[in-house]
């Protein structure tokens, strides 16, 4: 009888040798004449255990990890293909505390199935949401999404249903659905995991969005740093086209929906929605002034839904289980779940999908197990390079749009980057300006010039030149950038800078460094 072995094809798993492990298992099975079927699944998101190999025996999956090619002969000696015990055995991975304490709705299938297996997708609940949506009026779909309380997972947190309603009510022959997959924030990888691990759910969400707003064409804008995600999305689209689920007649409904992939070119600013639209039109990715908002005049000047990968990938769940089911998760005005991403100097880095309201401490300590270096925790940056730093005293804050905003921080795309006590926060403030300098689109002056002046001034502080006066100058510059920038790039660069100055003043109080040193 054939044994099914699951080896992730997620690029994080590949980055630590998943392909080599797959080759070794194939080779060893051949030598030993054991019939093994290898399935390349997405990642479960327990990255410190990658490559995480699972063996299915009698419908039960037993995990082993982290597996290296050198471990493979010994694993076969221990009869791992029959679920045998071995020092790397982890038991059923669903029972691992890291996974057991999650609420996986958007990520329900990621890591479980072959991302391009349509039969497996359907047997795990895929397409149920689309089928239900096909029987509803556009107004009903929009109402369901609105009732679910889903808010934009890209960082801004704008209610998805209201955005869809605006596009639906704007009379126009040509409308578009654009998926923002330009996931450039350091510390985030949830979009990539969806595209590599369950691309069908994103496509399903986009088709439903098209039905809801009356759009017949969609684009996914994926950053060029994600070659594997691009390849998987392109393959997934071809499968949907072949199955008649994309094209001129979606699943026999008589309605068209065509989907294209656009590849970015290494510009962080193109994650800003209006820059992304410019880039998709083949232009420099400069920010557009608003209004008009993209919902009224977006891609090629037409009404356009612009949503993040996670927002769109959550829609099939809402359609399938109903708005109530999704709404029941979360707290306050933050409904549902958020895929949090634990990154940086953390022992157990990975993906934690959890209802809003979980505290930062629970995520870093309970799920993450503290720092990777074993040194004391010093700071964490929430929500990407434009997000605030938090210190130990703030770790009991709940992860919720409003609670974080009140504390001067932001949720962003749900990334958490952990630093141990060796971090120099003045260096991190300098880097925030440097990053803005490199990635600014250059359209507005506060961002273009402010970033350069900010970096120079923090460099003076680091050299100990008039530190106190220059800190005041930086704070003043932060006011100008916050109030005067056209978009979040210049407007939020002050957030990490200010939080670093406020929480770690000692790092900015430096004695003059002599030239001789």
């Amino acid at each position: 009888m054939s044994v099914t072995v699951y080896i992730p094809c997620d690029s994080a798993a590949l980055s630590v040798g998943a392909d080599t492990v797959a080759d070794a298992i194939r080779h060893e099975a051949r030598i030993r004449d054991i019939d093994v079927t290898i399935v390349r699944n997405g990642s479960r998101g327990l990255f410190w255990l990658e490559p995480l190999v699972e063996v299915e025996v009698d419908g039960n999956r037993t995990a082993y990890g982290p597996v290296t090619a050198a471990d493979v002969p010994k694993l076969f000696d221990a009869a791992f293909h029959a679920g045998g015990s071995h020092p790397l055995a982890l038991g059923p991975i669903e029972d691992h505390p890291f996974l057991k304490n999650q609420e996986r709705l958007t990520f329900a299938r990621v890591g479980i199935i072959d991302p391009l297996d349509m039969a497996a997708y359907q047997s795990h609940g895929g397409l149920t949401g689309l089928r239900r949506a096909l029987g509803m009026t556009p107004e009903q779909i929009v109402q369901d999404v609105t009732d679910s309380g889903l808010r934009g997972r890209g960082g801004a947190g704008f209610p998805t249903g209201i955005k869809w309603k605006t596009v639906a009510e704007t009379a126009c022959e040509t409308k578009y659905v654009c998926c923002n997959a330009d996931e450039g924030d350091s510390g985030t990888f949830a979009d990539r995991m969806i595209m590599e691990g369950d691309p069908f759910t994103l496509i399903e969400g986009m088709v439903i969005a098209g039905l809801a707003v009356g759009a017949g064409e969609g684009y996914v804008y994926i950053r060029s740093e994600y070659p594997h995600a691009i390849a998987t999305m392109l393959a997934a689209i071809r499968i949907w086209e072949a199955d008649g689920l994309l094209g001129d007649d979606v699943a026999g409904s008589g309605k068209p929906f065509r989907l294209h992939v656009r590849k970015g070119a290494g510009a962080y600013i193109c994650g800003e929605e209006s820059s992304m639209l410019e880039s998709m039109e083949g232009k420099r990715g400069t920010v557009r002034a608003k209004p008009p908002i993209p919902a009224v005049a977006g891609l090629f000047g037409q009404p356009t839904v612009v949503n993040n990968v996670l927002s769109l990938a959550t829609v099939p769940y809402i359609m399938k289980e109903g708005a109530e089911a999704y709404r029941d998760f979360g707290m306050g005005r933050s409904r549902g779940t958020q895929p949090f991403q634990l990154a940086g100097n953390i022992r157990q880095g990975g993906l934690v999908e959890k209802a809003f309201g979980v505290t930062i401490r629970e995520l870093i300590e309970d799920f993450g197990g503290g720092t990777a270096s074993g040194r004391p925790f010093r700071a964490a940056q929430l929500g990407g390079p434009l997000g605030a730093y938090v210190d130990d005293a703030m770790l009991d804050l709940a992860m919720d749009y409003e609670a974080l905003a009140e504390a001067g921080a932001m949720l962003g795309h749900g990334g958490i980057v952990v630093f141990d006590d060796t971090v120099d926060m003045a260096e991190m403030a300098r880097f925030a300006f440097e990053f803005c300098e490199i990635e600014s689109c250059g359209k507005c002056t506060p961002c273009r010039i402010g970033a350069v002046r900010g970096r120079e001034t923090v460099e003076k502080i680091i050299r100990g030149e008039d530190a106190a006066r220059n800190v005041t100058l930086v704070e003043d510059l932060c006011d100008v950038m916050t109030d005067g920038s056209l978009c979040a790039m210049g407007g939020l660069t002050p957030m990490p800078v200010r939080s670093a100055i406020k929480l770690f003043p000692d790092d900015f109080d430096r004695p003059l460094r002599h030239a001789a040193e």
């Binding site: 510390g187 740093e225 070119a265 090629f300 990154a343 940086g344 940056q381 971090v423 990635e439």
Partner: protein
């Protein structure tokens, strides 16, 4: 999109009429002719649609190793854009280079998550070990090490991408081996 379809056909006629007679781009060398053929065929594959400029530039760079200055007026002609518009796009995006990279391209992440695991020191070390400046080529053009900001592998920092192959938990020895392997 219909406006673009009409637009593209007009452009195609114009281009066909002028094929071989690009006054601005007349480069009477074999290399110049080959480049022009490449530009025309790539643009043609995309229906001479100016909205596909990024895709076109990616493909040109994949085939030619870079988007050289001579290609700019050719692209402008084919897509009915000004040279300034094409140059603006080429120079805006970090991905596009105007001179070829080394035989192996290594993208090293220097964003926050990788910094928290010592990426800056690692980048400095690998550049020293390879004898190349960050972002530039060495004398023998064997390897180019480029800074990038996030490869989406932040839980396995420091992260790198060697000729498109991801590496997590990178260290100097792993990097050196991977570069040697890619160059072989």
């Amino acid at each position: 999109m219909r406006t673009y379809a009409v637009h593209a056909s007009v452009v195609r006629n114009l281009r066909d009429a002028r094929r071989g007679d690009y006054r601005m781009t007349d480069i009477s060398t074999a290399a110049g002719n080959a480049l022009r053929d490449a530009v025309c065929s790539i643009c043609g594959r995309h229906g001479d649609d100016p909205a596909a400029l990024l895709e076109i530039l990616h493909e040109l760079q994949d085939e030619w190793g870079c988007v050289e200055d001579d290609a700019v007026p050719m692209l402008a002609d084919a897509l009915n854009l000004s040279r300034a518009e094409v140059h603006g796009v080429v120079s805006f995006y970090h991905d596009f280079r105007t001179s070829p990279a080394g035989r192996v391209t290594v993208k090293m992440c220097r964003a926050e998550a990788c910094q928290s695991m010592g990426a800056l020191k690692l980048i400095e070390d690998i550049c020293t070990r390879m004898g190349v400046p960050l972002g530039g080529n060495g004398d023998d053009a064997r390897v180019t090490i480029e800074p990038v900001y996030c490869l989406g592998n932040c839980a396995l920092a420091p992260a790198a991408l060697i000729d498109g192959r991801p590496m997590g938990r990178a260290d100097i020895d792993k990097l050196e081996n991977a570069i040697a392997e890619a160059a072989a």
